[in-house]
């Protein structure tokens, strides 16, 4: 038992012998939770939380399917879907723009609905199907929307493009691409600082009018 506490509390000498925090930890099954950070363990002790509640501080299991591949992961509750995709699954096509839900660069589909992955806690998409920009192409064959963005020059720097394309595909699927005005309204959650908007609208209109399956 004794040696396990080292991992939590750092230097043994920092801790007085009768420290109630130590007592708490010794009594608690938290000793097995090597993933706990010191700050959290101390906080749990201060609040006199029982181990059952304190255990919630640990990494929690989350199961999700990303672009057809099932993943069983263990994450901290504060990890966003965006960070999980980029940092843990290394799917870096989804971009972090503002990170506050204002730019749309992080747009992905969750069970078919487009959302801002930067404001989505990964824990909250447990059991759901995620599609990112990497999941649109079929092997080497680009999605029609990707083709159209290239053809119409729907970008300059390209940073907003994955989000724009994910949003554009959803825009057509939702039935909100029936006119230029409607496209502009329903694409307003995706900001392009290069100002490629007219070309983005053209790309979406071409795919819509082409009647291809998106």
């Amino acid at each position: 038992m004794e040696d396990l506490t080292n991992g939590f509390l750092g230097d043994e000498n920092d801790q007085p012998k009768d420290n109630p925090r130590r007592d708490f930890l010794k009594k608690s099954s938290l000793l097995t939770a090597v993933a706990l950070t010191p700050g959290v363990a101390v906080k749990a002790a201060e609040n006199h939380l029982d181990e059952k509640v304190a255990a919630v501080f640990e990494k929690l299991p989350v199961n999700l399917t990303v672009n057809g591949t099932a993943h069983k992961l263990s994450i901290e509750p504060r990890v966003t879907l965006l960070d999980l995709l980029r940092e843990q699954l290394h799917l870096t096509g989804t971009k972090k723009g503002c990170d506050y839900g204002q730019c749309g660069a992080c747009t992905v589909h969750v069970d078919g609905l487009r959302v801002n992955s930067c404001l989505t806690l990964a824990m909250m998409v447990d059991g759901k199907k995620i599609t990112t920009i990497e999941g649109l192409a079929k092997g080497e064959e680009l999605h029609p929307m990707q083709e159209a963005f290239i053809k119409h020059d729907g970008f300059q720097c390209g940073y907003c493009t994955p989000g724009q394309i994910m949003s554009a595909v959803a825009c057509i699927r939702e039935g909100h691409a029936n006119s230029e005005g409607e496209i502009r309204e329903y694409m307003s959650g995706n900001i392009c600082r290069c100002g490629a908007y007219p070309n983005i609208v053209n790309a979406i209109q071409e795919v819509k009018n082409g009647g291809q399956q998106v």
Binding site: N47, P77, G101, V115, T120, L121, M123
Partner: protein, 326 residues
């Protein structure tokens, strides 16, 4: 973002038990709360995810439409019954946020969203809403987006929701669950004016849960309009918004419902103006008169005095649209 615990109870009772404890906060769509947590404006110890609760349905009830608190903003905006019976609500929802955020945000969460006052969001600035008695940065600061009605010397922030403005105009009722059972609150009594306690946005107790919003059937579907004036054509908060609904019989107004957004700490319902419109002809002249009446008691600040002109103009325009004159 500070660390927090996360629980996902599957029953209403376990949610109520969880939220009764200090430091807890409900999360539904998270589109505002996660943003606030990233900014350090809110830092709950524990998030109670209520998405397991069966509160997503939109169902007709006797004489009303029952909208579950977890119905998504996009789901409500696109709902056939909503579009048919309450097109005003559908319009207001579609005027808010972006398509992505509407796919995340819920009805209950939309009601619970916090002000977008920049002094509330900036933790380095004083804000009586964020830290009671720390002062108000907006009073003497950059207050272009701020209130012209119902403010106090403690807070001049506005409520940011479009949906809530339509709900207030449509006489909706909020259904709330608490330890002692259910209670019902008129939507117009849900949000509060700041007074001396701007830290309280609304009258929902800490240990209560919004279950649904109910909208009574009405005769306004044919003549209603939501007009939102903002700094860009889409995806921006309102400078002024107006929910206008008229019941017109042979050119004469039989009943009216009016509420404004972007002007106060809560959706600003204009009951006196509604009453004044009864029996009047549905003409531009009547609407201009009504708009002047609506502005009684309005007060501008350094940067938002333009709202004193923009508000009546928006009101007139919305009424004209509702009446089919524009």
């Amino acid at each position: 973002m500070k660390q927090f615990q996360y629980v996902r109870p599957s029953t209403q009772q376990s949610v109520l038990d969880a939220i009764a404890k200090p430091g807890t906060k409900i999360i539904a769509g998270g589109s505002n709360l996660v943003d606030l947590m990233k900014h350090g404006v809110m830092s709950p110890d524990k998030l109670v995810d209520i998405n397991k609760l069966p509160l997503r349905q939109i169902t007709p009830a006797k004489g009303s439409l029952h909208i579950g608190a977890l119905a998504l903003n996009s789901q409500v905006a696109e709902d056939k019954q909503v579009k048919e019976k309450f097109p005003l609500l559908s319009q207001a929802l579609n005027a808010g946020a972006s398509a992505q955020l509407r796919n995340m945000a819920t009805v209950g969460g939309n009601m619970m969203q916090r002000t977008r006052c920049p002094y509330f969001y900036d933790v380095a600035m004083p804000c009586n809403k964020r830290v009671p008695n720390s002062g108000c940065g907006a009073l003497e600061g950059f207050n272009r987006m701020h209130a012209i009605f119902g403010m106090s010397d403690k807070c001049i922030a506005v409520h940011p929701s479009d949906m809530a403005v339509a709900m207030a105009a449509l006489d909706a009722t909020v259904v709330i669950a608490g330890k002692k059972g259910q209670r019902r609150l008129p939507f117009t009594d849900f949000h509060r004016l700041p007074g001396n306690t701007p830290e309280l946005d609304n009258n929902l107790a800490k240990d209560e849960l919004i279950l649904a919003v109910e909208i009574p059937d009405n005769n306004f579907a044919k003549h209603s309009y939501y007009l939102k004036v903002r700094d860009r054509a889409s995806y921006a908060f309102a400078l002024i918004s107006v929910a206008a609904a008229l019941d017109i019989d042979n050119g004469t107004i039989r009943a009216a419902r009016l509420a404004m957004g972007g002007v106060a700490h809560k959706p600003w319902r204009l009951t006196a103006v509604e009453n004044a419109l009864i029996g009047k002809p549905a003409t531009a002249a009547s609407f201009e008169q009504a708009a002047q009446l609506a502005m009684q008691g309005a007060k501008g600040f350094k940067d938002n005095a333009f709202k004193l002109k923009l508000a009546p103009a928006t009101l007139t325009e919305a009424l004209k649209h509702a009446a089919g004159l524009a």
